[in-house]
Symmetry: C2
C-alpha cells in the first residue's frame, strides 16, 4: 500500500539515504531536518508514518515524538524512531514517549520495509473510523473524540504461547506488573482451545516453538475470525529477522527480539493494548450512534422510528404464526398540568418513571416505545385476548397504584394513564402499521372522553378493573 512518509533527521545524507530507499518502494516521501519543522509538517501534511531520528540538536526525537502523541490532531500518526543508540534504556524511553517502534542504525532494510508496510496498513484501517468519530463528536453523538494515547494500557488479559519454561515465566512475571491475567501455554492447539472460551486483548507468540511453526500459528490466528482483531506480538531470535518480516506481512503487529528486555516488553505490550482499545472505542461510537437513532434520549425507550419498522415485522410474523398481537396506545392523563404546576423537570421525571413502570410490567419480548410527548405504545406479540386484557390492566394499575416521586416541594404526585387498545388476529391479514396504531388511538380517544384512567379495547369496551384483579397472577406468570 502506498503512503506518505515523513523522514526526520538533522544530517542530510541520512535523510537522502532513507528517502531513496522509500522512494524506490514507491512511497511518497516528505522530509524535515529539525524538530520544530517536523512538528509543523506532521500537523500540516498529515503523513501516514514518521521516521524520526533521536539525536538532533535543539529538540530531540523523544521530545518530537511526545509532542506528536500529545496533540489530539496528530496522536494517531505512527512514529518509528531511528537511532544509533542501542541501549535498551533509550529504546524503552522512545517507546514510552509513544513511538510505535524503535529501529537501530545501520537500518536493516528488510526490517524497515516490513515495519513500514505493517504500520501503514494499520493506520489506513483505523483512519476511516477516526474521521467518522470526529464527525460524531462534532455533532454531539459522543462527548469527546477518542485519543489513542489516552486509552488505558493496563489490566489486560494476555495469552503467551512459548514452550521454553524459563522464557515463559520471565514474560509472565514481567507482564503481571501491569496486567491482571497473564496466561501461558506451550503450543498452538492449547492456545486455540483457550481462545474459544476467553477474550484476550493481546497474544504473544514465540517463533521458536519446537513442535510447530510459530509463524504458521500467527497466520492461523490472523485469519481466524475470532482472533483476527487481537494484536499479536512475536518473540524471536536475532537470527530470525526474515521470519519476523514475514510475520509482519502476515499481519502480526509487533515483535521483540531475545533476550527479551523486561522494560521493552512492557512498553511494546502497552502500545498494542492502547491501540486495540482505541480501535474498540472507535467502533463503539458507531454502535452508540445507531442506538441513539432508535431510542428516545429522555426515557431510553425505543422511538417512533424503531416502533414503525418493528411493528411492520411483527405484523408479518403475526400472520405467519397465526397468533394474535395487541397494540396498546397509552397517554398520561393531564400531563400538561404536571409541567405547568411542577415545572418541566418534574414532567421529565414523570415520563422517566412512567417508562420504567411500562418496562417492568411487560414481558421481555414485548416492545414499548415513546411516540413523543406523553404518548407511549406497547406491542404485545403472541397473546391471547384474555392475556392482553390482563397486561393492559396491570399497566394501568402500575401507574395509579404508587405516587410518582418528583423534585421540588410536592415530593410526589399521583399520576394516571388512559389506554386504548386493539388486537390484530391472523385473520386480519392486511392491517398496516398505520391502521393498527390508528385503531388503538381511536380507543385511546374514547378512554380519554370516557373519564380517563381506564383501558378500552376495540370491540370489548372499557375493562372492569374488578374483573381482572384476582386473575392476573395466575395467568401472567
Amino acid at each position: 500500500m502506498s503512503a506518505r512518509i515523513l523522514v526526520v533527521d538533522d544530517i542530510l545524507p541520512n535523510v537522502k539515504l532513507l528517502e531513496a530507499k522509500l522512494s524506490q518502494e514507491y512511497y511518497d516521501v516528505l522530509t524535515a531536518m529539525n524538530g520544530p519543522d517536523a512538528l509543523k509538517k506532521v500537523e500540516e501534511e498529515s503523513p501516514d508514518l514518521v521516521l524520526l531520528d533521536v539525536m538532533m540538536p535543539g529538540m530531540d526525537g523523544f521530545e518530537v515524538c511526545t509532542r506528536i502523541k500529545q496533540n489530539p490532531a496528530t496522536a494517531h500518526v505512527p512514529v518509528v524512531m531511528v537511532t544509533a543508540l542501542t541501549d535498551s534504556v533509550d529504546k524503552v524511553r522512545g517507546l514510552e514517549s509513544g513511538a510505535d517502534d524503535f529501529l537501530s542504525k545501520p537500518i536493516n532494510d528488510v526490517a524497515l520495509l516490513a515495519r513500514v508496510r505493517s504500520l501503514v496498513r494499520l493506520k489506513m484501517s483505523t483512519d476511516e473510523w477516526r474521521v467518522r468519530e470526529n464527525t460524531a463528536t462534532q455533532l454531539g453523538v459522543v462527548d469527546e473524540s477518542a485519543n489513542v494515547m489516552e486509552q488505558s494500557a493496563e489490566k489486560a488479559n494476555i495469552l503467551i504461547i512459548e514452550d521454553k519454561d524459563f522464557e515463559l515465566n520471565k514474560m509472565k512475571q514481567t507482564l503481571m506488573q501491569d496486567h491482571d491475567l497473564v496466561q501461558g501455554v506451550s503450543n498452538g492447539p492449547e492456545a486455540l482451545s483457550l481462545i474459544k472460551s476467553q477474550d484476550f486483548e493481546l497474544l504473544i507468540v514465540s517463533l521458536n516453538l519446537a513442535s510447530e511453526d510459530g509463524l504458521r500459528l500467527c497466520s492461523h490466528l490472523r485469519s481466524n475470525e475470532r482472533t483476527r482483531s487481537i494484536p499479536l506480538v512475536m518473540v524471536a531470535g536475532q537470527e530470525d529477522m526474515q521470519r519476523v518480516a514475514h510475520g509482519l506481512e502476515i499481519g502480526a503487529h509487533d515483535y521483540i527480539l531475545r533476550p527479551v528486555d523486561r522494560n521493552e516488553l512492557l512498553a511494546r505490550v502497552r502500545t498494542q493494548i492502547r491501540r486495540k482499545r482505541f480501535q474498540e472505542r472507535l467502533r463503539s461510537t458507531y454502535e452508540i450512534s445507531l442506538s441513539m437513532a432508535l431510542t428516545d434520549s429522555l426515557t431510553g425507550l425505543y422511538n417512533r422510528r424503531y416502533l414503525e419498522v418493528h411493528l411492520e415485522k411483527l405484523l408479518e410474523k403475526n400472520i405467519e404464526s397465526k397468533k394474535a398481537l395487541a397494540v396498546l396506545m397509552m397517554d398520561i392523563d393531564f400531563f400538561k398540568a404536571v409541567n405547568d404546576t411542577h415545572g418541566h423537570k418534574a414532567g421529565d421525571e414523570v415520563l422517566q418513571t412512567f417508562a420504567q413502570r411500562m418496562k417492568d410490567g411487560l414481558r421481555s419480548f414485548d416492545l414499548v416505545a415513546r411516540l413523543g410527548g406523553e404518548e407511549f405504545v406497547a406491542i404485545l406479540p403472541d397473546v391471547t385476548t384474555e392475556r392482553a386484557y390482563m397486561i393492559a390492566e396491570r399497566l394501568r394499575r402500575a401507574i395509579e397504584e404508587l405516587p410518582f416521586k418528583i423534585s421540588g416541594p410536592a415530593g410526589a404526585i399521583s399520576v394516571t394513564t388512559s389506554i386504548g387498545a386493539t388486537i390484530i388476529t391472523a385473520d386480519q391479514p392486511n392491517v398496516s402499521v398505520y391502521t393498527s396504531l390508528e385503531r388503538a388511538d381511536k380507543m385511546l380517544y374514547d378512554a380519554k372522553a370516557g373519564g380517563r384512567n381506564c383501558v378500552i379495547f376495540e370491540g370489548k369496551g372499557k375493562l372492569d378493573p374488578e374483573e381482572f384483579k384476582g386473575a392476573e397472577r395466575r395467568v401472567i406468570e
Copy 2:
C-alpha cells in the same frame, strides 16, 4: 495479511499444487473438489477469497461464481477464476459472472500472490463496514443491506492517463458505451490538476508512459488523500508482470494487459465501479445513522439531543463574542384538538408545515429543534434585542397568516402559536442550557395563560404586533 482461501478444482494434483503454494505463504487453505461442495464451504466457512477452476464436471466454475455472487450472504467474497482457457470470451464471461479476476494456467506465481494479497486487503477493509451495515439493517436504520452485485456499474466519471493516442481513443470509445464521462490525459501533472476539480469514480493508468514512471504516479494517487479511495486500474504490456505485481502491492485495484480487449476492459471497469459504489453505500449508512440520531423523523428538524449539545456551545460562544442570544420556546395552540378532530395524520401534517415555516422564517445560522409533541425551540445567536423581537413576531405571524393544508374533509385549518422568549446577554455568564430553556418556557406559560397567539419576552412582556408590522422588512433584510 493472512487469510482463509478456498481452492476449488476437480483435479486433485491441481488442488494440491495451489494449496502448497498458498500454504507456503502462510495462508490458511480450505479445499473443495466440485461446485456444490464449494458453495457449501463458501457459505459455512466464510473464506476471504475463492480460487475457482472453470472446467469442472457437473456445475462449472461460471455457475459456481454466479451463485456465490447472487447469494447476499456470500456476494462480498472475492472470486478469482483459474483456467486453461485463454479465449478472451471465456475471460469476459468469468468477469461478467462476478469474478474479480481471471488467471490462466499455468499460473504465474507472482501474479497469483500479488492478486491474492490485493483482494484480501480490499475484503478486510470492507468487512467491518459490512458487518455494521447488517446491524443497521436489522435495527431498521436502513431499509435493506447493500449487496455489491446490485450496485449500478454504469454512468461513471472515468479518467484515463495514457500517452499513446491510439490506445487512449480505443479505451475512451469502448468505455463510452457504459459511461457518461470518459476523459483522457497524457501525463500525471494534467491528471492531478483535473482531479482537483472533478470527482472521478475510476482512474486508469498506463504503466508505459514515456515521460514518467506510471507506477510512481499510481503510488502518488494511492497516497494522496483526495484520490486514495478511487479505484485504480493499470494498463501494462505482457512483459510488465513484475511491475503490475508491484502496483497491486502499492494498492492498485486491477490491471489489464495489452492489447486491451474491449470486452475485458468493460467487464473489469464494471467490477471496480460496482465495488466502489458498494463501499460508498456502506459508508453512507453510517452518516444516515448519525443524522438519525440527531434529527426528528417527522419534521426533519434537529431533536432535543442536538439542541442541548449545541445550545451549550452557542452559550459559550455568546459570552466570548460579547453578543446576545435569544431563546424562543414555541408551542402550537390547541394542538390536541387538531389530533382529536382531524386525526393523527392531519396532526402530523400540521407539525410538518409548522416546521417548514419555522425554517423559512429563520436565518441560516439560527438553530431550530423539535423538543417533542407540539413544542419547538429556536435559538438565535448574535442578535440585538430589537431584531429578536422582530423575528419572533415574524414567526408568530407566519403561522397565523396562512391556513395549514391537511388531508381529510376540512382541507385546511387555522393554526396559531404561542412564543415565550428570553435574551441571554454576555453579562449573564453562568446561564446553563437548562436555565435558558426554563426561562423561555416560563414566558411561554405566560403567553398561553395570556390568551395564546402572542409573543412574550422576559423583561419586556407581550409584544404588540402593530408595533412590528412596518419595521420588519427594513431591519431583517
